[in-house]
């Protein structure tokens, strides 16, 4: 009886935790048929994806820093994306930028979940920060690519 009770409590907790999981990223694009497709992720869903890590320097840190998270192109894998597509990225404060899809296909751009192996709070520009591998690609070490590293990312529109 007790174990049954415990089971129900566990199921209830799991359901609650599922419904309560907060969406941290919404991606809107289109599927193969051309219909609008919206995919949302909570932080746990992003964590279970393949993680890519690299140490890089950029304009917003003082020293080379380790970032890790899923590749942006992996997040777009279930969408139909043309070679000329543009991604419109939106931050928590509604700041928006656009980046060409070629950035994502040519370079290992990640949506970082962790900085130096620790999750990032909003105060640390988290929870999601788009990071380009600048240290691995010196040609990216320009103001243009630094400005594309939007933090507090919440939304991606494939256009």
């Amino acid at each position: 009886m007790n174990s049954l009770k415990l089971f129900f409590i566990l199921v209830a907790w799991l359901c609650a935790s599922q419904t309560l999981a907060e969406t941290v990223l919404t991606i809107t694009g289109s599927d193969a048929s051309g219909s609008v497709k919206v995919v949302t992720f909570d932080i746990e869903e992003l964590k279970v994806l393949d993680q890519t890590s690299f140490v890089t320097i950029h304009d917003f840190v003082d020293e080379p820093t380790l970032f890790s998270g899923p590749l942006l192109r992996d997040l777009l894998a279930n969408f139909t994306v043309s070679d000329e597509a543009t991604l419109q990225l939106t931050a928590l404060n509604q700041y928006q930028i656009e980046i060409p899809i070629s950035d994502v296909t040519n370079f290992d751009v990640i949506v970082a979940l962790e900085m130096n192996n620790a999750p990032m709070s909003i105060r640390q520009n988290g929870p999601l920060w788009v990071i380009y591998p600048l240290s691995d690609h010196p040609e990216l070490q320009t103001a243009v690519y630094n400005s594309r590293m939007i933090w507090q990312l919440i939304d991606i529109q494939v256009r």
Binding site: V61, I122, R123, Q124
Partner: protein, 450 residues
Amino acid sequence: MTARLFQYKWAIISLVVFGLGYAGFSLVGMHREMAGLNMGSLAGGPVWFVTSVEFDVLRLENALYRYSEDRYGADDVHQTFDILWSRLAQLEVGNTHDKLLEYDIDMTVYERSMDVLIAYDDRVTSPDFGVDEAQELFALFDQINGELRMSSLKVLEASIAETNDLRLRALSLAKTALFASLTIAGMSILLLIVFRLDSILTRRILFEKEALLQEAYAADIAKSQFIAVINHELRTPLTSISASLALLKSGSLPQMSGTAGDLIGIAERNCIALKKIVDDLLDIERFASGKMEFDFQEINFSDALIQAIEDSKSYADSYSVEVSVNNIEPDVRVIADLARINQLMANLLSNAIKFSNAGGQVQVSLSTESGRAVMAIKDNGRGIPQKEKTRIFERFHQVDSSDRRERGGTGLGLSVVKEITDAHQAEITVQSQLGEGTTFYISFSIANSC
């Protein structure tokens, strides 16, 4: 005009190379300078950052205001609070921080804003964050707002000054680019002109060459016709005159007076000389047209030479020159056309005799050396100047035009000698000292040495 311009072709090409080099050098320098300009720094620069701080302060104020009116939840306040926190924290690190220091911006207002956030951190994150506290926080930032605006303006001012510098440098680069482009365009036009001139002149030269070739061809035909005329119109009567004179001289006809006999002798000598000239001319023509035929056989070169010396004696006497044998090795055999070898030796001997001084001596020798027969004919005449040595075998060439008057001859003898020597794959060399004499050496392969 074209030709005169073309004289400066290399000067123009040098100018083009220099101009293009200069333009290229300017463009490389410009590229380097452009890379150093970092124009992109203006896009996401500190102005954007400090303005964003102002924007996020306003968002926080807006959230606090709505919270105090119960239109926003605590989460909304908390989020805008954290965003402003992240923005102010970002001012402390990275390039923006460095740039603000470089602009000498007073950071006090940002530090004070951060202090306010730190002071209210616990209260804002507390579930019982009160409306009074929200209004209090709103009022604090409302006071700071003006200072933030002033600070943003200072950053903008510093940025404009920097932008101005960048703009001036960009303008200078644009001028360089314009100058380089004009230089390249100018040089290309010059190059085009040079190539055009080159093409015109090349065509003209080709045309002239063709005309010259046609003239030469016409001249060649005329020469051949002339030779044919000589052969038929001059040689035939000469042979007839020569034969008649020989008959007269042989005495088979009634005896003539001494004076008439002398005159016939003179006529015969001149006839022989004229026949020799005609024969040389015909031979040269045959050599030139490749129609000369040779009958190569093994001959006794020593005997042929001795015979040639004998034959030349009467001619030598007429010049009061002695032809002496100076060691002729016996029975030296070579593969040769005897008639042509006789002609070669006769020409060389008559030349040596003709150009020797009266009472002089022509020495002839024949020796063998390393499988070759070397014939040497040495005179003690006036010698050949160094610069003429290479030209003496040319047709009609004589060392000094006065020679022709003094010694006679057409300048064909040595040319015939050279042609015969070449046909026999023999070698002819000449050594000469002005005022001392000349020696011709001709070397043949020995027949039995093969």
